[in-house]
């Protein structure tokens, strides 16, 4: 299952070289190096506190790395605000806690950024939002507030909100961890559909079924670095590293 090379030609979607990050004296990332191609679906797993969230938050600069290089779509992450804004418009992110805007309706949540960042007209943005809601399976909830939806529905709205900016890369940080078991499937189904459509995705998750079925590649994180990586078959059937074996034995 090799990654499809769709993107805009030569540059890979994401290149990380020796990315390091400290919180005070605590080193959260100790040299992450990996390259992610266009259309590739990468699942990141690892024990709690191993730096998975920090890693994907560095990719859209919610955290800033202190050493190494991160290049997204040929643009290097520096402190240049305009570069960061351009990258953020191309990279969508879905959070564990949904982080929908509670004071806005579902429709307003989705159309906010297209209207203000992409200067789309309201009618234009709303018709796109309706299509997206259709795609994530909740077209009838457009006029409700997030507080009136179930967790699974909220997370699907959050996915639609990210997609509304037409991103080329999507980051998911444990999108199903805050959900009741019966709602996990509806969110995973949406993500599966997204992966099949050729979206470049990095997914932090504990859903091993999803990793097996959808991922092109699995990264195992521990102590702020990639300890082991490979295809799902390799990873689940024939792990090399002791720590990987230990982790898998604990969660499977």
């Amino acid at each position: 299952m090799a990654a499809k090379q769709t993107g805009n030609g030569s540059t890979p979607a994401i290149v990380c070289e020796g990315v390091k990050k400290w919180f005070g004296d605590f080193q959260a990332l100790s040299g992450v190096t990996t390259t992610i191609g266009w259309g590739e679906v990468v699942v990141v797993i690892g024990p709690s506190g191993s730096g998975k969230s920090t890693f994907i938050r560095c990719i859209n600069r919610l955290e800033s790395h202190q050493a190494g290089r991160i290049v997204v779509d040929g643009r290097e992450m520096t402190n240049d605000l305009r570069n960061i804004d351009a990258i953020r418009r191309d990279v969508g992110m879905v959070f564990q806690q949904f982080n929908l805007f509670p004071h806005l309706t579902v429709m307003e949540n989705i159309t906010l950024a297209p209207i203000w960042v992409r200067n789309r007209t309201r009618t234009d943005a709303e018709s796109q939002a309706r299509q997206l809601l259709e795609r994530v399976g909740i077209p009838e909830q457009a006029d409700k507030y997030p507080g009136q939806l179930s967790g699974g529905q909220q997370q699907r709205v959050a996915i639609a909100r990210s997609l509304a900016m037409n991103p080329r890369i999507m980051l998911f940080d444990e999108p199903t961890s805050a959900l009741d078991p019966e709602m996990i499937k509806e969110v995973l189904d949406v993500m599966k559909e997204l992966a099949e459509s050729g979206m470049t995705m990095i997914v932090v998750t504990h859903e091993m079924g999803f990793a097996r079925e959808v991922a092109h590649r699995v990264l195992f994180f521990d102590y702020g670095t990639v300890v082991e990586e490979g295809t799902p078959e390799h990873f689940f059937t024939n792990p090399q590293h002791d720590r990987t074996k230990l982790f898998l034995s604990q969660i499977l």
């Binding site: 804004d85 982080n99 805007f101 004071h103 806005l104 950024a113 960042v117 507030y145």
Partner: protein, 677 residues
């Protein structure tokens, strides 16, 4: 998803039995199951009832005592409301109120304010009010007696038809009975009947209007001698017209809203913003306006007239902002900065009477900035450099002699330009910046008009403003300044830039640790010393500034509380979908933060409204000073020693306003509550 079949008949919650009077008493007055608690609660209830009865007794005894001179209130109403406002100019007051009322009802119509209130609830409320009035009326401590104890249940001698008390008692009893039957009838209806909630204020206003033409109020005839007289038509007529206009405006508002809802809201917001300067500067201002001077056809040349100033800066500033907001581009930025330097130099030459070297300095700085902009390569850095340069420029301008208003403009312009890299770039952002600039220039000119520093215009506050008119002006102006200022302070105090945090924290702590009265003295007596010589603002303006300084610190702390209550994930999500820092703050963070602090903000607003009465200490005649001092001590000998009556009235008066504010806020909170969960 598998479908679950719903149960055939949903089970209803058991209906709560309607409790009889005894059960009701047991539940509410003597709550308890065993004798111990019952006895204790019974004691509390009885004691409390005694206290309430006594309070009611005191009130009645006070209100209806023979020696009360309520004419002190009714006769001095004009004094209380507008103090010495010239009789011939009262039309200005009516027009001001009219503008305000029309805007209020138009907004109600445009934002579809309202909802329904159940007829039964309304009738129950009316019943309770009548019962309270009746009970208060029949409680009496006896003539002159004011001792604590069981007040008499005193029905006036039925033959005493001349006593207004008898009539009030009878009327309230009848009213209570009527309301009771009405409530019962409404309860028996199958479906609950509701009316729009707006019916309540309209009915209230209609009653007041009716009363204006029918009620006879006490007036003094000689010393301590009262008769009654109709309310003057000069009062009744304008209020009646206002009532009519308001209702008409509501329906027109609804009609317009149906046609073009979005446009109407935009027009309304602009109208609200414009109404403030129009009411203060045009309508309530001293009538001796020299329009020739304002327009620049009089003694002052056009360029230094108010209109000239406005046009120069409005247009020039818009162009400059538009250009600087362009996506960063070396040539454009360099050229802009150069042009700015030249403009500043020319201005200091044309309007300042400073030495030649200041002009040279300006031009040199302009050139240096051009050079700097060309040598620095990163476009973003370039714009920042330009902004920083402009800020520096603004600082220097303070030391170059030129009219104060121009300096203010230059500083405002430099600040606007500083934000250009943040808002600018997109067409929309630049347009917004320019749109923001125009009201800013208008406000600056307006402030100087009011201050009367550059033209011969005088705002004669001492003769023109007083009474409730002054109170409301101080309250609204103070709030209009302190709400945005508090917002900015709160954002600064929570900002990630240490210098902003430090400044905002220092300001807030300093302001809060000094009593309001000290700030008022500062505004009235000392502020002038801090301003450059030759710049003088009217006392009212200085006092408004002092009030704003004080209130903004409290508003800032309230809003900061709201900001801190917002989950960090909200900001991250906003940034992750590509919103800029400013957009994330203004579209995602602030709306939520402000919602959570509305109760606290309303508290601040109410306190600010009541605190305006402190201006009496620096000699401004607000409504409370007139009630407390002018009427009982200084005016007509008929009203000597009527302090308690006046205070009673003032208490009621302030209560009506603050209660209205807090009710409106409550309704607003409820109306937006949906999005909060």
């Amino acid at each position: 998803m598998e479908q679950m079949t719903p149960p055939q008949t949903a089970e209803l919650a058991p209906e709560k039995p309607r409790s009889g009077p005894w059960a009701w008493c047991r539940e509410n007055l003597f709550a308890g199951d065993t004798w111990g608690p019952i006895a204790f609660n019974a004691f509390l209830t009885v004691a409390f009832v005694l206290i309430v009865l006594n309070l009611m007794g005191f009130v009645t005894t006070y209100l209806f005592a023979a020696e009360r001179r309520w004419a002190a209130v009714t006769y001095n109403m004009k004094l209380l409301m507008v103090q010495a406002f010239p009789q011939d100019d009262l039309i200005r007051i009516w027009v001001s109120i009219g503008i305000f009322a029309v805007l209020v009802v138009w907004s109600l119509a445009s934002w579809e304010f309202g909802g329904q209130i159940s007829v039964e609830k309304m009738a129950q409320g009316v019943r309770a009010a009548f019962v309270l009035v009746f009970l208060t009326g029949i409680m009496h401590h006896g003539e002159g007696a004011a001792s604590f104890g069981l007040p008499f249940l005193r029905f006036d001698n039925p033959a005493d038809w001349s006593s207004i008390r008898t009539w009030i008692e009878l009327a309230s009893l009848a009213g209570a009975v009527a309301a009771h039957f009405f409530a019962q009838a409404a309860h028996r209806r199958e479906s609950e009947q509701t009316v729009p909630i707006l019916v309540v204020p309209v009915l209230g206003m209609a009653l007041v209007t009716l009363a204006l033409w029918t009620v006879w109020l006490p007036v003094p005839e000689g010393q301590f001698d009262e008769t009654t007289a109709r309310i003057a038509t000069t009062t009744a007529r304008p209020w009646t017209i206002l009532f009519g206009v308001t209702i008409l405006a509501y329906f027109v508002g609804i009609f317009l809203h149906r046609q073009r809802p979005k446009l109407m809201r935009r027009v309304l917001i602009s109208a609200w913003i414009l109404s403030y300067p129009i009411i203060i500067f045009v309508i309530q201002r001293d009538p001796i306006l020299d329009w020739a001077d304002i327009l620049g056809f009089g003694e002052t040349p056009f360029l230094s007239s108010d209109l000239g100033t406005l046009l120069i800066f409005g247009i020039l500033g818009s162009v400059v902002i538009w250009v600087v907001g362009l996506p960063p581009n070396r040539a454009v930025t360099g050229a802009t900065v150069g042009i700015l330097g030249v403009i500043v130099g020319l201005m200091s030459f044309a309007f300042g009477d400073g030495p030649l070297w200041s002009t040279v300095l300006m031009a040199a700085i302009g050139l240096a900035l051009v050079a700097a902009a060309i040598t620095i390569h990163e476009p973003v850095e370039m714009v920042r450099a330009a902004g920083a340069g402009l800020a520096m420029l603004a600082l220097i301008i303070w030391f170059v002699p030129m009219p104060f208003v121009y300096r203010t403009f230059m500083v405002a312009l430099a600040l606007a330009l500083l934000s250009a890299p943040v808002f600018g770039g997109t067409e929309q952002g630049r347009a917004n910046l320019v749109r923001a600039w125009i009201p800013i220039s208008f406000l600056i000119v307006a402030a100087f008009l009011l201050g009367g520093s550059d033209t011969s215009l005088e705002f004669q506050s001492t003769t023109f403003l007083g009474g409730f008119n002054l109170t409301i002006l101080l309250a609204i102006s103070g709030l209009a300044l302190s709400l945005p200022a508090g917002l900015v302070l709160a954002l600064a105090r929570t900002s990630s830039l240490p210098i902003f945090r430090l400044l905002a924290t220092g300001y807030i702590e300093l302001v809060r640790s000094i009593p309001m009265i000290t700030w008022l003295f500062f505004g009235s007596a000392m502020l002038t010393a801090f301003l450059p010589s030759g710049v003088e603002f009217d006392e009212i303006v200085r006092v408004v500034a002092a009030i704003a300084i004080f209130n903004s610190a409290y508003v800032a702390e309230n809003i900061r509380g709201g900001l801190q209550a917002i989950n960090k994930g909200q900001y991250e999500a906003a940034r992750a979908v590509g919103l800029s820092v400013v957009q994330s703050t203004s579209l995602v963070i602030l709306p939520q933060a402000i919602r959570t602090v509305i109760p606290a903000l309303v508290g601040s607003i109410i306190i600010a409204f009541k605190d305006t009465s402190l201006v009496a200490i620096i000699g401004l005649a607000d409504v409370l000073l007139i009630a407390r001092n002018f009427v009982p001590q200084q005016s007509d000998p008929n009203f000597q020693g009527t302090l308690t009556q006046m205070m009673f009235f003032m208490a009621l008066f302030y209560w009506v306003f603050t209660f209205t504010i807090s009710r409106l806020a409550l309704r607003y909170e409820k109306s937006i509550g949906l999005g909060e969960r």
